[in-house]
């Protein structure tokens, strides 16, 4: 009994409830006539599609900068990467690689500025991050209209200028990773390439957090004064964390786009930070500590729920409840985590 109790406190009630809920959905799916194969395929696709953006939050949490509500900044870098690569006429795997190569310098640049700004507002990072995200997205909404994009399938048909709301990747690199080495078992398709890419990114952060810099970063989040007394530049480490987070956010959206099949510009980036944050929190992270395990479990539970609820609940209730459940869970999770651990620095 004691061991069960200890396990529960260790694992946390929210995670257990959501895991049980998800399990229930999987069990009831065949009963209400939802096929399991395609459902699992969906879950894996959406897991891979979102995991990197969740992962992108980790460095900043560890460095004491809180949950990166400014993730849209990284996403904008990714949008620049994919649209510019398309404009330049790259397609297929080279296109995707060029998109990443363009995203990285933009991510570095944005991350640097963002980091500098956050260093001026210690203790209020999350609020400011939110504003940064909003303002950047709005600024870019104007830029998408005025930047000289010319390619026909990028710009709005009738005007001949300004990007479309959503740009199809069909002729470029849609499903590039998902289809790479994909394994088909009956009606279940395992997106091998996508999973490998996600695995690579997770490994990258895992290793990064174990380097001298990664260790310093964690210590800065734990106790900045201690870190400083150990000869670590607190400001520098915080900036490093925002840069890594921003670049990774950019790469994350590229992976998302290729799986989703579309590039969404204008206000779309605004809606990316919240799901990522709730996934991380569901995974058991707090505002001050997050691990790879949190990322993987959290993304799987959160995306699993998002995929399964519509199909199962809808076929039971015959009404669309999924959106309501999604909003309640994701925002509820954020509130829960914030009330429990509100302190960001120290």
């Amino acid at each position: 009994m004691n061991r069960i109790k200890a396990f529960i406190t260790d694992f946390g009630w929210p995670r257990i409830i959501i895991a049980l809920f998800l399990l229930g959905l999987f069990i009831s799916a065949p009963i209400v006539g939802v096929k399991l194969g395609p459902s699992f395929t969906d879950v894996f696709n959406r897991f891979g599609q979102n995991a990197i953006m969740v992962l992108a939050l980790v460095p900043m949490v560890q460095a004491g900068c809180g949950l990166n509500f400014g993730l849209p900044l990284g996403i904008l870098a990714g949008l620049l990467g994919s649209t510019l690569a398309m404009q330049l006429g790259f397609v297929g795997a080279p296109g995707f690689i060029v998109a990443i190569l363009i995203t990285i310098p933009f991510g570095l640049l944005f991350g640097l500025g963002y980091g500098k700004l956050l260093n001026k507002v210690k203790g209020e990072e999350m609020t400011i991050a939110m504003y940064v995200g909003f303002s950047a997205v709005m600024l870019f909404s104007i830029l998408w209209l005025v930047l000289p994009y010319t390619k026909a399938d990028l710009v709005m048909g009738y005007a001949g200028e300004g990007l479309r709301r959503s740009i199809s990747l069909e002729k470029y690199w849609a499903k590039l990773l998902n289809d790479f080495l994909a394994v088909r078992i009956g009606d279940f398709v395992f997106p091998t390439g996508l999973m490998l890419f996600v695995g690579l990114c997770v490994l990258f952060i895992f290793v990064f957090m174990r380097t001298r810099t990664g260790t310093a970063l964690t210590a800065v989040g734990s106790n900045p004064d201690y870190a400083r007394a150990s000869g670590v530049s607190v400001e520098r480490m915080r900036t490093v964390s925002t840069v890594v987070s921003t670049v990774l956010g950019g790469v994350g959206i590229l992976v998302y786009q290729q799986s989703f099949g579309f590039v969404q510009v204008y206000d779309a980036p605004l809606y990316m930070a919240f799901p990522a944050v709730s996934a991380l929190l569901i995974g058991g992270a707090s505002v001050t500590k997050a691990s790879m395990v949190n990322v993987v479990i959290g993304t799987f539970l959160f995306q699993g729920m998002l995929t399964m609820t519509p199909s199962v609940i809808n076929s039971v209730l015959k009404t669309d409840m999924s959106e309501v459940i999604r909003i309640i869970v994701s925002n509820g999770m954020i509130i829960y985590a914030l009330t429990r651990k509100t302190k960001v620095t120290k």
Binding site: V207, T211, R212, Y226, G231, T288
Partner: protein
């Protein structure tokens, strides 16, 4: 006091943290106006016992406790510290619980502010009343005066020296109108002896006014001096409960550790003649510990002591040289200039320091002991990293870190459940030892230690001082030791400088008369021995 119900009685108190038994069937009582001295080794369970008494949430969160606490003969079960406060128990915690951005006055009267009603109150009720700052200031001054100390009621806590913070905490507790029992967890640890004297005197005054006091200290002579009764905890059990009369410091020490303790006296090493550290016209802007103009020289292999009253700047010297607070002047070590305001550069010059502020600066409370001990060496010197993929990049060497931590746990007798335990869960004294281990792990040639024995028990103190001596003797480590305890400085140092008002008032030999030290500290330098060294 026969036949009278004691104010407080603890019966059969037991407590474990996830199976690690910390208190076992502890029973004792405190009479009205009585001062009970509670002593025990680091990790004996003193703080835990007081947390239980005060209804601290950590206790309930970690599974509650067994036994009963009775106040005035009636069993009580405090759900939170607020209940305890309402019942008339005041507590000064081992670690500070002040609000840094508030002034002395605001902290003392926190939550019990004197209010002034105004027109809006008549309309909207008492929530519209405003703070009566003048009255609050007066109350704070009264409380401060009762303690017999000098504190600036308008100073921000964040700018105070530690000693002042301690007095502010105590003043806050005695400002309460209904306080019947005052619990002081190592209140004197951060004070100099003379300040401690003042505090002990005010405790006696409070006791004579009928307030009961539980007083925890590792300075046993204070216990003997102030307590009416002494309760000794050893490994979570109350092994002795005796009246103070007829008890000696030696007896207490023996009961605490369960065997006879012999103060080991080692010969001081002989230091070389060459100057190793030279400090010229150092100034440091450390709030509450300003250093104005300090010059001194330390020889290679010397243990150099720096003493002085709290707030005079002795702590600022080490913090300034280590680059933790802005400063200026000229510092050379082994003939090389040391960059100021550059913590990294300093650590790279074979220097290390142990901060006086162990929870603020000294520890990563949320991380393991391994991290705490190895981190500085890793960052400053690139140690405890192992190359992977043929040296492409380097990763933390967890194995080496564990080994290092285990070595110090053994050497310094750190009481913990393992090197993976988080620093937060250690008792105060054991945390102090972690801070020392961290500095030793850098293998410095010059070590600054500020208040190295603060909050550690007699046995551990001997270990720490002996370790310092050993490092000094065996490895020729030059040590600058800053301490509020003059006796400690005199027992280990080759020479002792006394700091007053941000300047060196004089440097004396440890054998010098205690009155001479007193004279220097009191800020009335006797010109003749001012520059003795």
């Amino acid at each position: 006091m026969p036949n009278e119900t004691p104010l407080l009685s603890l019966e059969g108190i037991s407590k474990d943290f996830y199976g690690n038994v910390v208190l076992e069937d502890v029973t004792f009582s405190v009479g009205r106006g009585q001062i009970v001295g509670l002593v025990g080794e680091n990790g004996a369970g003193k703080t835990t016992l007081m947390r239980i008494l005060f209804g601290m949430p950590v206790i309930a969160e970690t599974g509650g406790f067994k036994g009963t606490v009775s106040l005035d003969g009636k069993p009580v079960a405090f759900k939170s510290p607020f209940d305890a406060l309402d019942a008339g128990i005041g507590m000064v915690h081992q670690e500070f619980s002040l609000i840094p951005g508030f002034t002395t006055t605001e902290n003392i009267t926190l939550n019990r502010e004197t209010m002034k009603s105004n027109l809006a109150c008549d309309i909207f009720g008492s929530r519209m009343s405003v703070l009566d700052r003048a009255a609050m200031r007066k109350r704070a001054s009264v409380a401060i005066e009762r303690l017999g100390v000098k504190l600036d009621p308008d100073m921000l806590v964040s700018e105070m020296p530690v000693g002042h913070k301690q007095f502010t905490e105590i003043a806050r507790e005695i400002d309460r109108a209904n306080v019947k029992l005052l619990v002081l967890d190592e209140p004197t640890a951060v004070l100099t002896e003379s300040e401690a004297e003042v505090l002990l005197a005010s405790l006696r005054t409070l006791a004579s006014q009928g307030i009961s006091i539980i007083f925890i200290s590792h300075r046993l002579h204070e216990i003997v001096k102030v307590a009416d009764r002494i309760v000794v905890l050893r490994d979570g059990k109350a092994v002795k409960d005796v009246p103070t009369a007829g008890t000696t410091v030696h007896d207490i020490a023996k009961w605490m550790v369960g065997r006879d303790v012999q103060a080991s006296v080692t010969e001081l090493s002989t230091c070389k003649e060459n100057t190793f550290l030279s400090v010229e016209h150092l100034w440091v802007d450390m709030p509450g510990e300003t250093v104005r103009d300090v010059s001194f020289e330390v020889r290679e292999g010397e243990i150099f002591g720096i003493g002085g009253l709290a707030g005079q700047g002795k702590l600022g010297i080490a913090n300034g040289i280590m680059g933790l607070f802005p400063g200026g002047g000229k510092v050379t070590v082994d003939g090389k200039d040391i960059p100021l305001n550059d913590p990294h550069g300093v650590l790279n010059s074979h220097m290390a320091s142990v901060s006086e502020d162990r929870r603020g600066v000294g520890l990563l409370l949320d991380e393991t002991l391994e991290w705490n001990i190895a981190f500085t060496a890793m960052q400053a010197k690139g140690e405890y990293l192992t190359p992977v993929l043929g040296g492409l990049f380097k990763l933390r060497d967890e194995k080496a870190m564990k080994k290092l931590a285990e070595q110090y746990v053994k050497q310094l007798e750190i009481k913990c459940t393992g090197t993976k335990q988080r620093a937060m869960e250690l008792s105060g004294g054991n945390q102090q030892k972690i801070c020392l281990a961290k500095a030793f792990a850098l293998n410095p040639r010059l070590l600054f230690v500020s208040e190295p024995t603060r909050g550690i028990d007699v046995g551990a103190k001997a270990i720490v001082l002996e370790t310092l001596r050993t490092y000094n003797r065996e490895f020729g480590m030059t040590i600058v030791m800053i301490s509020s305890e003059l006796e400690e400085l005199r027992s280990i140092c080759h020479r002792i400088a006394i700091v007053d008002e941000g300047k060196i008032a004089g440097i004396l030999a440890p054998t010098a008369d205690i009155a001479e030290f007193g004279l220097l500290m009191s800020g009335e330098p006797d010109d003749k021995n001012g520059d003795a060294a």
